[in-house]
Symmetry: C4
């Protein structure tokens, strides 16, 4: 199993983007800072955004600690995960996650992979992560768990090649969060801000679900409440984004 | 179910207050900062105070993150939750909680709604939040839990209309705290400072009760101790307020 | 039950101290700051030191938040808890704890009363707080728990009068820590530094014992290890004191 | 049982190092700061590095709080734990741990002893600390636990003499972590950076394992995944080191 197996395929750079939209660029940088400041990404996670004008490309930071990302660190890759800029080598080896999910899910505009500290217990348990509060309704009837052994069972549990990433995308299915046994989480959503918001909410939901389990049976959102959330939009989600941004940027 | 159903009723602005008492104004701003600094309110909670001279009105911040509230953000609403100032539109849609509780409970002078992180497990459990220490005696025989399904069951669990807010006020009854299934908490008290104090104490009490549950059966305050607390006043409560204020304001 | 019942008895101020030893004064102030900085005292606890030259008196801060204590706030009381300075009224009503324990235990040179957040679960449980590590051997076979109902059962659980304080001192017995049901903890030791050190250790020991309880049966120190600790001195305890002081004073 | 029994044996200072390699020196200092900043070492732990050119010697700080260590505090000892510089007396009494493990394990180039807060529950439990995630595969089938009673049972649980340290080295065996009942942990690895990295990972793994235990049966890494990790290197471990260093040095 080679770390980059299957990634170095051909790319059509003719349609490749030169620079992202400034607002999108700022959101990607801010997302890296917020996730670090909130303690839900460590030195190794990554977040990407699909280019809205060239949906065959996505933007992601070079391989580095998210806490240190600035605008000049954001690079473009095609959906085969090849960098647009020739010779760029400072790449996350797990970026294959991004390309394969963008291919499988045309609706997805942003993807986050992290080693979410409070989600790990659910990655290694038969107990599903389920919504405790309305804002966590996106967890539905329980976040699916991807076991890399469904693809191969000799590795370090990282998603290193196309086959593994396709298995992961399959486990994600139509959901917006998939947990990875012995590894972490992948969030997929319609914007950088939505994905960050859900990652923050998933963390607190996980902590509260574990605490509630100590008190006895836990009452989760009902099927009807989960269905309602699918048809509606959250109220004023940017209020939290702006507050988190202010905190992350002062740190 | 419309988000503002029932809120836009007629209001008699003749008796409406122009500005709050400066000391009250400062307490409302300070409360927003303390609750944020202590981590028991997030970007979405709100706290209000009834106007002591015009009890048909209350003061609350415009719809914004509590951590950022300043004196100029505090506005007046009547008990039908209409803003006194014509054309004011930056309003919390859940402000209906405040109006309905002030109507149902003439003794209540301050109300807090938050998504108290350590109280959520009790919102979704059959285990009641009960007093571990003397200062938490206000929890009585256990904080009641309001299930919005007792009013309607198709929503996002937020309190968006008068019917839901009346159901909530009914569940609160004569208590000073009601938990909301899948949502959070509402505190009602005789002053901004009392409500903030109780919100801080409820958080630590919840954490300690969950920890104690890991050790075996938990011994709560006795009925006689709870009754004594109802007849007496806490000793020097302002000492904590001043300390929390100092910490919140330096942050 | 009056808050100060029994405290205002006669005092012989002839032998009363005018000012404490400067090193002792600094330790008392530092202790207040460390305990606040470490989060194991809130706005309401207090720590005292017996005067080494006039053992019928002790030093304690005026009634105020420990985090704000400075040298000019330290006052002297006799063992009937009367202030040496005439007209001093800013006194902790629970100072009766200090006088009664100093009377009952001539060996005790310092006393701390706090609402130790991680000890409260043990105050309300049948599970005893027991030593997880060598430095916590002072917990012996388990910290005793004082139930104020053994004295009277109509109050707010505070130690307000001599009878209650005597009951508490009796429950403490020869131990160095007694837990108070529904209230908190009292540490008694041979110096300010020892008492602070033990309060810090008791907090972490409590957290670790609760966590270990989640894993199954817990193995505590043996009787022989507890006995050894009674005969020996801790190695270089001041290293921690100096580190905690540095952190507390910069905050 | 004397604290230094067996340590003062003969040393051949002829081959003794005068100063460590500057890069190694900086890593030792940085390690002390990172471990303190991350809260996984308190005032009493210590970390050492074997001298790569003179494998009969190791470098360690003088007896002091790790948070305060600077380059001038790093001293050399031989494997009998005698300081190279004549008259140096400010020594950790538990340094015997280092010498005995370096003797028993020629492959080991760095050793850390700490009172790891989240590992203590596993020190006193029959439940083994096992790997939750790929980066914790070094925990293997479960970290061994050393019970000092296998050597003697009259002490303060510290490792004070050669017999105890040899017993500890035996319990460590070929592993890279051994837990000490009622005491803490010892990590052994091939570099300062590896040992620090593993200490950080072990702490979060312990917390996640305890949380997962609340949810039901826990699924750990498989034997095949553990075996794979033994044959491979972690990807870009220095990214975390540099991030932790930046945080520790600004504090």
């Amino acid at each position: 199993m080679s770390a980059d197996a299957g990634i170095k395929s051909s790319s059509t750079s003719a349609e490749a983007p030169g620079a992202p939209d400034p607002a999108l660029l700022e959101d990607i940088v801010t997302a890296n800072r917020i996730l670090s400041d909130q303690g839900i990404i460590d030195a190794y996670g990554h977040i990407s955004a699909r280019d809205p004008l060239r949906p065959g490309h996505y933007w992601i930071s070079r391989s580095m600690a998210p806490a240190l990302v600035t605008g000049t660190d954001i690079i473009a890759c095609d959906l085969d995960n090849n960098p647009v800029r020739t010779g760029e080598t400072r790449l996350f080896f797990e970026r294959v996650i991004h390309g394969e999910i963008y291919k499988a899910r045309p609706d997805v505009m942003a993807i986050l992979h992290n080693h979410a500290p409070s989600l790990i217990p659910f990655c290694n348990s038969d107990t599903r992560l389920r919504p405790m509060v309305g804002s966590a309704a996106f967890l539905g009837e329980g976040a699916p768990v991807f076991d890399i052994r469904s693809v191969d069972d000799e590795g370090d549990l990282n998603i290193c090649n196309v086959a593994q990433a396709r298995g992961l995308a399959q486990a994600l299915g139509p959901h917006c969060l998939v947990l990875l046994r012995g590894h972490g989480a992948v969030f997929a959503g319609d914007s950088i801000r939505q994905v960050v918001r859900r990652a923050v909410i998933a963390e607190s939901n996980a902590r509260q679900q574990m605490q509630a389990a100590m008190l006895g049976p836990v009452h989760f959102l009902t099927a009807s409440e989960i269905a309602f959330a699918k048809r509606s939009k959250p109220k004023d989600p940017d209020r939290a984004w702006q507050l988190w941004k202010q905190r992350a940027m002062r740190g």
